[in-house]
């Protein structure tokens, strides 16, 4: 269990570094916020007063410390334009995007792994060419385009949902909200399923060349036994890492789909806030996204350590 603790400490350290770099970066890009806010009419006295009010006259490290402390106590600072507590602003959008990501991730995982194995078994058969073509098609079609097709077909033609008609909150109309989220998740998933299947297929083909497979056959395993009892487990660590990357990207990747379906998620919100130069909000979202990526990587590592005993030694294998 030692490695679990070590990995979690590493996670915390990484998050600390990430948050510091983010804070620093925003310090650099946001310039003199007080001046910006007051515009050219602000007198130097007014600017100084506002700087004091915003705490900008404090030393950099102290402000970083306060901001970080605020992050853990739920005080995320205040938007330039919206007096609401930041969490009330971001929370619901984050929730929507997390649901979208969770549905997509489930679809990707549940479909890719069996399909990856199946796709391996097609290798060399006449269907293989068809498989390659279909796989590449799925990877090449961008989610927004599938989104437009879906909106037209499932939304306008079949009337399963109202395009651009996402309810004001999920609770207001859970059925409608979940239908839209589901179709958005499918759009988001299709290219990623294709990528994961392709990755699994090449991993399985690579594993099949290894010497332990020959040993397994020499003991009387049939194809199924070799695949399920030996190769699958050995292919899993790479797959877990790949899926974690996918999970990390899903949130960023959801921006486009949220636009197409008119889903009020984090991605859409982020784009709007960037355009408005609302730095405190953007900064918070950036940190959340970065934490998400780091967390996904850590979880993948921990799962892989469960799968592969060689990784439990710490360091390289």
């Amino acid at each position: 269990m030692n490695y679990v603790i070590r990995r979690i400490l590493m996670l915390l350290l990484t998050m600390l570094i990430v948050s510091f770099l983010t804070f620093l970066a925003f310090e650099l890009v946001s310039g003199d916020v007080a001046q910006t806010k007051l515009g050219t009419e602000g007198t130097p006295e007014q600017v100084a007063a506002l700087r004091h009010e915003l705490g900008l006259d404090q030393p950099f490290l102290l402000r970083y410390g306060q901001w970080l402390g605020g992050f853990f106590t739920g005080d995320l600072g205040v938007s330039y334009y919206n007096p609401q507590p930041m969490w009330e602003l971001i929370g619901p959008k984050l929730g929507v995007t997390l649901i979208l990501a969770a549905i997509s991730f489930l679809l990707i995982t549940l479909i890719s792994i069996p399909l990856g194995l199946l796709s391996y078994r097609l290798a060399g058969s006449p269907l293989d060419g068809l498989r390659t073509a279909f796989n590449q098609l799925c990877m090449a079609v961008p989610p927004f385009f599938i989104g437009i097709l879906f909106s037209w077909f499932f939304g306008i033609t079949l009337k399963l949902f109202i395009p651009e008609g996402f309810p004001s909150s999920i609770r207001a109309n859970p059925g409608e909200a979940m239908t839209q989220l589901f179709f958005a998740a499918v759009c988001l998933s299709i290219p990623r399923i294709a990528m994961t299947v392709r990755m699994m297929r090449s991993t399985v083909i690579g594993e099949m060349q290894k010497a332990y497979v020959r040993t397994a056959i020499s003991r009387g395993n049939d194809r199924r036994g070799v695949l399920l009892r030996h190769v699958l487990k050995n292919s899993l660590t790479g797959t877990v890492t790949f899926l974690a990357q996918t999970l990390a990207e899903l949130i960023g990747g959801s921006i486009v789909v949220e636009q197409v379906f008119g889903i009020p998620g984090l991605g859409r919100f982020l784009v709007a806030e960037i355009r408005a130069l609302d730095y405190p909000v953007v900064q918070t979202i950036v940190v959340i996204l970065a934490f998400w990526v780091v967390l996904a990587g850590t979880v993948a590592d921990l799962i892989n350590q469960r799968i592969d005993p060689r990784l439990r030694l710490g360091g390289a294998k």
Partner: protein
């Protein structure tokens, strides 16, 4: 027990046959040594007996009779029933030959899981521990739970031997099982194989580059060159009165001094 008749093996990607028509017999309880330079077709011969050559990539001709049954004519399911139960195989690199993610005990017991569905898990475990004790693995109980990377090279090879003999096959194919090990471990493994052969009467095909090793272990030797058998005979006869010039050269090149033997 094993009778190879005019075996030809040709890979589709190659112009020359890897095995060009060999006749070879292994008697009950015999340890037959198969020597020859690299690429002479020793492994291909062993792999064709074990049914491990990819059938799509090569053409086999002739007959491989195991207790009267022709393995080349047998269909896949019959062959699978013999793999691991009638024929055990040990390869050169114990580390890469083992599945890195499965516990040693599970791998040693795999042939039983496949071929002896009648056994309860406890009975299977007992047989696995017995096989591990037979190959003189220290602390079988502990080894059972370990992963391959937690064993030394010699222990890994012992575990591979245990896995190959766990279902008591009548034929053991050993493809350079000691080449990857250092000299003292090599000697221990040879002693072990001798003991197993003496105690259980299991027949063995022992492939090696190393003539000294073959001389210590085998009752009969076959010499292979470029896919053909150039000489077969009792170990003493072949070593003292080699008939074929190639054998004579091989024997002349044996290092005489003790110490590290060249591969």
């Amino acid at each position: 027990m094993l009778d190879i008749q005019d075996l030809h093996v040709k890979f589709h990607t190659r112009d020359h046959e890897a095995v060009g028509g060999i006749n070879l017999r292994i008697d009950d309880g015999e340890i037959l040594g198969l020597v020859g330079e690299s690429g002479s077709g020793k492994s291909v011969t062993a792999m064709s007996i074990a049914g491990l050559l990819p059938r799509k990539q090569c053409a086999l001709r002739g007959a491989i009779l195991l207790d009267g049954q022709d393995l080349l004519l047998a269909d896949r399911s019959i062959l699978r029933r013999m793999q691991g139960s009638a024929i055990g195989v040990v390869f050169q690199e114990p580390m890469s030959s083992m599945n890195p993610l499965l516990r040693v005990g599970v791998q040693v017991g795999e042939a039983l899981r496949i071929h002896r569905k009648d056994l309860s898990p406890e009975a299977r475990r007992a047989l696995v521990l017995q096989a591990m004790a037979d190959v003189e693995l220290p602390n079988p109980e502990e080894c059972y739970r370990k992963y391959p990377h937690e064993l030394s090279g010699g222990q890994q090879q012992r575990a591979m031997i245990a896995a190959a003999i766990v279902s008591r096959p009548s034929l053991l194919l050993l493809d350079e099982p000691t080449t990857a090990l250092d000299v003292t471990i090599q000697a221990q493994i040879l002693e072990l194989l001798k003991k197993l052969n003496a105690e259980t009467g299991i027949s063995m095909l022992f492939i090696s580059h190393n003539l000294n090793v073959v001389r210590k272990l085998c009752t009969r030797v076959a010499v292979m060159q470029k896919g053909l058998l150039v000489e077969t005979g009792s170990t003493d006869a072949v070593f003292h009165h080699p008939q074929h010039p190639y054998t004579q050269r091989l024997i002349a090149s044996i290092p005489t001094r003790h110490g590290r033997e060249v591969r």
